[in-house]
Symmetry: C2
Subunit: 328 residues, 2 copies
Amino acid sequence: MAGVEPCAAAAGALGLEAVLEAATRIRGRAHRTPVLGSAWLDAATGATVFLKCENLQRTGSFKFRGAVNAVGSLSEAEARRGVATHSSGNHAAALALAARRRGVPATVVMPRGAPAVKRRAVAGYGARVVECEGGLAAREAGLARVLAETGAVPIHPYDDDRVIAGQGTAALELIQEVPDLDLVLAPVGGGGLLSGTALAVAAGPARIRVVGVEPAAADDARRSLEVGRILGARETHTVADGLRTALCERTYRLIRRHVEAIVAVEEPSIIAAMRGLWERTKLLVEPSSAVPVAAILEGTPSARGLRVGVIISGGNVDLDRLPWQEPS
Amino acid sequence: MAGVEPCAAAAGALGLEAVLEAATRIRGRAHRTPVLGSAWLDAATGATVFLKCENLQRTGSFKFRGAVNAVGSLSEAEARRGVATHSSGNHAAALALAARRRGVPATVVMPRGAPAVKRRAVAGYGARVVECEGGLAAREAGLARVLAETGAVPIHPYDDDRVIAGQGTAALELIQEVPDLDLVLAPVGGGGLLSGTALAVAAGPARIRVVGVEPAAADDARRSLEVGRILGARETHTVADGLRTALCERTYRLIRRHVEAIVAVEEPSIIAAMRGLWERTKLLVEPSSAVPVAAILEGTPSARGLRVGVIISGGNVDLDRLPWQEPS
């Protein structure tokens, strides 16, 4: 899905500047989310941990930042055409609300089998939902039809500089509030959040180390960096459903350049970390958010003695189906 | 359980001054918890709602404030004797940690049937747990034995000026951060939080209206104010297990003097509000915290057009037994 790229930094030179511009653009539109500590995590890791709580962001995830920046970057002529995407997850809800806030029509292509609760969320934020069959090909075909019919501007969930720059504003706010961090961790699926985080802190003047974390069951990013080319996501089954997607060329390049390492964590560790976060920090986080926390609880990367920031990516969870209640 | 009352304001004249002193005493010991807004609650109530998030307080509830203030108020001689209480809930965990932080021995009398998770929490904070039979009489007898054996200072969960003043610091911080509130809501069980809240804001120079909310299934506070004397808690069954206790003379007097009204909400409203808070605000709150939110969602008291503060009292929940999963 090709994005329209009006911003100056689009030609391969995306950097901190784009994140700073995004921060200006989203100010007053996205929440400046709180940064919270946890005596439990500090004791368990030997680190001083700072949680950047994007689960408290509008629409319940960091995705709202990228969506607001992308929608806010549209020219008046583009805005009249509207925006569209295919997604059944957090990006869809984020784009729907970001578009409504600017008075821009939004269309979301969603597989017929998507959970009713997700459909309702997207429709509740005012987007038009267009059904398609399951599978990536059907979704892409559905989106192509929408674009042809409406002339809408496609906004990809991560293969888009405006989106990546927007996602980086979470880490930017984190280091503004806690400037002397040693290490920042973020989960990695398609790589939009990790790329933006790296631009904000590793590519910035502070040169803070950035490590990405993914489920071992969906460790395509780690393997991609190892072999030096993008490997597709295997047919995977991880509780961290937001992290099943593969990198794209754009995020692969940014991550290879600015991210120190990608580590992977096993499913039981993710579920234990998620439950620990719920019980001990009282933050309702989705499984993807527990992935980097699981990594430091496991000791890889070692956080001992360090000041560690973690991007808590979101909190959209089906409360009728919690991972520790399901037969595994 | 008679409290030792070293503070000057003890003789019936408890006021804002005691809350201000408590705020100084607990500074750097208890968290200054965040105040969060919610677009969902604003839309649903027509108000602008500010949630004072005591679920993010140490030990997961506002009780830590009162415990820290009480333990911090002890003379050196008293501190050497240690502290004791009977409780199986948030006060026990709060007192245990507050005592450990000052290096003071703590004993908690707990009924044999108390959930293992609560026992572990209290023991995990370093307190000695003494078992007793179920029922208030057995708990009081158990505590009396501990006091006789150890000479410990009893710290009652709410019938204690130091505790009440400490609880009031949550509302004090709230109005420091959002000074132009019209109304503050707090749940009421034994009345410690509501009394402290009233001292901080209704008895303060801002004279903000304070309303208490309790479950209709445990509406002894409302009925007590109606008939003009303390009515005991009926044998009740409410999901808001922290609010089953009755007022004491101390909290009854403060509430009668400073609180505008007590309203009651039904069980289904409490559960719906709790689930709404989880889903929409991503805050893990216990049922007691959902009680005042349920009230404004129901429109009593009317919050429309007002700036409303709500004390979110805590977040200690059994994640294996959520109210919307139980047969009701």
